[in-house]
Amino acid sequence: MSDVEYRRATAAQGGLLVVSGVESVAFGDRVRVRDHQGRTRNGQVILAAEQETLIQVFEGTDDIDLENTWVRFLDQPLVLTVSPALLGRVFNGIGEPRDGRPPIVEGEQRNVNGSAINPAARNYPREFIQTGVSTIDGLNSLTRGQKLPIFSASGLPHNRLAAQIVRQARLPGEAGNFAIVFAAMGVSYADARFFEESFADSGVLGNVVMFVNHADDPPVERLALPRVALTAAEYLAFDLDRHVLVVMTDMTNYSEALREVATAKGDVPARKGYPGYLYSDLSEIYERSGRIRDRHGSVTMVPVVTMPSDDITHPIPDLTGYITEGQIVLSRELYNQGVYPPVDIAPSLSRLMKDGIGKDDTREDHPRVANQLYALYAKAQEARNLASIIGAEELSQRDQRYLEFATEFDKHFVGQGEDENRSIIETLNIAWELLSRFPRDALTRVSETDLAHYYRGGDEAA
């Protein structure tokens, strides 16, 4: 069938093309479309019926006419050829080279949609990854095989933070056989270049595979991109035993492309025009992270989600938060105060932290210190609210102490340099400096043993 070209296009709209009277086309198959100028485009069958075939064209259907369009069915799903030669290369959303070098021909062809990992074959992620960022390591620790997105908003330094994590992330005491998969959907040239330079500066380019779709590239291609990128990541992790960190930016652009195609198809919209299957669709991407029993590698995911209008309840961050194992939330308020990285710890969370930290992983006081910092920070927020009503001078001595703590916490614990790579011990020590501003009795979340070991406050603190 792959040798036959059909000239039976009967409709074209947005990224969709309808072909009539072609029998027995497989659902999900790849398609090549040749337009009136002889240029080829790529597509995929998204509805297969006896009379009509609906094709999603990755490059869009601009400039297509129905008369002079030839469609060829390739008789195979969208695949990526995997081989160690992926490392160091740059591809587009469907796995074609965009670095001017020849395509990879030798290697196994893998269906980019993959298939669900059997939960019974998974290993629970419990190895602490040190990112060198205190708000993450100390309070929202990342573990190998976790998916921990950065919730950000336009204008905030999520890319800088993601790049810092990529540069610094490692397992304490292990040099590591790592790789980075960078999946960029609808990013600006400047952002793409920023990441490329960051990888080059830290000398890791040879361990990076990049999949890039720029802001002016066809949106439909963004739907394939994360699947292609994760096929590469899974290969590197589970065939080549690498610890793979996948940075995906920006999942909001991905979701918007999904909405665009869904609307064109006439799918029933759920919230804000996004299709009802946005949750399932995002899950298919995010759930490809993890660890698998008896495999040495891992896929750890740090997706970037920019919250439209800074709204965390918008369907994209909302559904992401329901799937991922926590989130790191950036705050415009902190950023405006000059704090980098502007991580708002209150809504930030790492669900897998509990099993990756403590005595044998980081330090025995770590879980309780994190808990204590959170409790104090929550009280400090109340004090801040109160101060904004009655003025800081009117606060009780107890509340003033909270207020001072919050200021110091934002400055010294949250705030750190873009190149400052703190060890987890340094992070915990900074935490204890802050805790020691309080009298012992105010620290009810840490244990007596912790206090005996690490508490530095004297009587004057009371």
Binding site: P77, N113, A120, A270, Y286, Y322, L352
Partner: protein, 598 residues
């Protein structure tokens, strides 16, 4: 049932197919195409049957064959269910991993229950050939795990004269253990297992009222918003509020006989967490490993969406099966929102008119039908059994007015509302005491009075009253500052803070505090309320609020929950006595100084 018939595919639209199949029946199972994908007929339109596929349809072509199996989706019910992990169609995932590797392949035909394993069957005493056997009657038992006796019953659709019953011995699932001749002279060969269609509730002889609370070992749940055995509860909460932790804590510690955990459209790693951690945990009631009484149904979010819809029915049917054996079963469904979304997705592809947020008009009735399968019943064999259903709800944006949450709220008796604000402040479990409710407090009060303490009801109300006052006073503070409050009111704020920290907050990660027995729950509440009452009198005598609030005793009271285990309530009582004595000493101090002043 009709024989297998062959039809063909007309159209493939994601998980929904249109097929041509003679004699197709709604609800019938089909096998699709060369990949042998599993599907179910969900609608008929003239010659066309609409099929929802439980597996990915990628690669299928119009014109491929479809086999009608002539029977609906059923589950296998028999020994070997416990400690297992199944997918949304009850396929055993551990076995799949063994035969097929790390990922789940399509079209895999595999038995739900192990056919090779032998079980020791112990027939009932006194049953003789010639006896008349009714539906659901007990034939014998199999000790499935150390703690769980699996009762082998006559299926609910068979009755008649017992012709033959197996002797004590080792049998596989396919061995015949009894033969029964029904009134039509048809002989039924009964095995250790039978099948039951998942969408048909299993019969029972009558419904009973709930009589005792399910004890979960979680203070905010048991003491403040009790759920009865056989009750219906919901845990709604935005992401990150701790729904899964609440569900897992209930699965771990509740005093049920059987726990069925349905991971419906949730994370793969959470299922692994249960699989890896439960065998290490000890049941506080039996001392045995927790996994022995647990089984998992896992349709993670990346698995096909249609099987997600089925997974809840699969879990429920298994729950009813254990109920019919006279067990108290807890079924946790995490999350019913994902189940509803699966319903919505299929409805959308079928072109059903959306009403709210894209959900079809029948969302409410479908939800109610699922929840109504919970309850405490008298079984066909005359025993008592119950299914308690606790559904997590994941409202978009944390908005409780959305369709799934609001419909659920109308159906359930106990509502454990999780709050983002509490979770952000790391107040766990983040069950909001304002939004949550339980309609069964009075029944629970009877149990507490009989088994723990007659003051439970009163103390509970006082504590909730104080928390309500706290919310009110906090609003004033936020408007005009704390100076506007009287000393008594300031002490009320301190009292509420003490309830929150010493009673309501409970760490699932703390070995001592993760489970709290009813006795310890009451002792802690009593201690805190006593301290509040006695403190109030001290304030009236002129003791400064600040001094009381920062008294070193307070830090110890806050730590009491994680200082003494559930079996160390004597030590806790001793500590309480020490606290009361200290406060009494303070009292006489202030009383005498006040006297001196006057």
């Amino acid at each position: 049932m009709s024989e297998a018939r062959v039809g063909r595919i007309i159209e493939i639209n994601g998980p929904i197919l249109r097929i041509n199949l003679a004699g197709a029946r709604n609800g019938e199972q089909v096998r699709i195409g060369s990949l042998d994908i599993v599907g179910e007929i969900i609608a008929l339109e003239g010659d066309i049957a609409i099929v929802q596929a439980y597996e990915s349809t990628e690669g299928l072509r119009p014109g491929e064959t479809v086999n009608g199996l002539g029977r609906p989706l059923t589950v296998e019910l028999g020994p070997g269910l416990l400690q297992g992990i199944f997918d949304g169609m009850q396929r055993p995932l551990t076995e799949i991993a063994r035969v097929a590797g790390d990922n789940i392949p399509r079209g895999l035909a595999i038995d739900s229950l192990d056919r090779k394993r032998e079980w020791t069957f112990l027939p009932c005493d006194g049953l003789e050939p010639g006896d008349t056997i009714g539906v659901g009657e007990l034939l014998g038992t199999v000790q499935e795990t150390e703690t769980i006796e699996h009762r082998i019953m006559v299926p609910p659709n068979v009755q008649g004269e017992l012709i033959d019953l197996a002797h004590v011995g080792e049998y596989t699932l396919e061995d015949t253990i009894a033969q029964i001749r029904d009134k039509n002279d048809q002989v039924h060969k009964l095995k250790l297992y039978h099948r039951w269609p998942v969408r048909i509730p299993r019969p029972y002889s009558r419904r009973d009222h709930g009589v005792e609370p399910l004890i979960t070992g979680q203070r905010i749940l048991d003491t403040f918003f009790p759920l009865l055995k056989g009750g219906k509860g919901a845990v709604p909460g935005p992401f990150g509020a701790g729904k899964t932790m609440v569900q897992q804590q209930v699965a771990r510690w509740s005093n049920a006989d059987i726990v069925i955990y349905v991971g419906c459209g949730e994370r793969g790693n959470e299922m692994v967490d249960v699989l890896e951690s439960f065998p290490q945990l000890q049941d506080p009631n039996t001392g045995r490993g927790m996994m022995e009484r647990t089984l998992l149904v896992a349709n993670t979010s990346n698995m096909p969406v249609v099987a997600r819809e089925a997974s809840v029915y699969v879990g429920m049917t298994i729950a009813e099966y254990f109920r019919d054996q006279g067990h108290d079963v807890v079924m946790l469904a995490d999350s019913t929102s994902r189940w509803a979304e699966a319903l919505r997705e299929v409805a959308g592809r079928l072109g059903h008119m959306p009403v709210e947020e894209g959900y079809p008009a029948y969302l409410g009735s479908r939800l109610a039908a699922v929840y109504e399968r919970a309850g405490r019943v008298q079984t066909l064999a005359g025993e008592r059994g119950s299914v308690t259903l606790i559904g997590a709800v994941s409202p978009p944006g944390g908005d409780f007015s959305e369709p799934v949450t609001s419909h659920t709220k109308e159906i359930i008796q106990t509502f454990w509302a999780l709050s983002k604000e509490l979770a952000d402040a790391r107040h766990y479990p983040s069950v909001d005491w304002v939004d949550s409710f339980s309609q069964d407090v009075s029944i629970a009060a009877g149990w507490w009075a009989e088994n723990i303490n007659g003051h439970w009801d009163k103390r509970r109300e006082e504590a909730l009253g104080l928390l309500a006052r706290d919310a009110e006073l906090s609003r004033i503070v936020n408007l005009v500052g704390p100076e506007a409050l009287s000393h008594e009111q300031q002490w009320e704020l301190e009292g509420a803070a003490l309830i929150k920290e010493a009673v309501l907050q409970q760490s699932a990660l703390d070995d001592v505090d993760s489970y709290c027995s009813p006795r310890k729950q009451f002792e802690l509440l009593e201690l805190v309320m006593q301290v509040f009452d006695r403190g109030k009198k001290l304030i009236e005598l002129g003791a400064p609020v600040q001094e009381l609030a920062e008294h070193p005793l307070m830090a110890r009271i806050r730590r009491a929950k994680s200082t003494w285990r559930s079996d160390e309530t004597d030590d806790l009582a001793e500590f309480a006595t020490e606290v009361y004595e200290t406060l009494a000493a303070l009292h006489s101090e202030y009383a005498s100084s006040q006297e001196a002043a006057s």
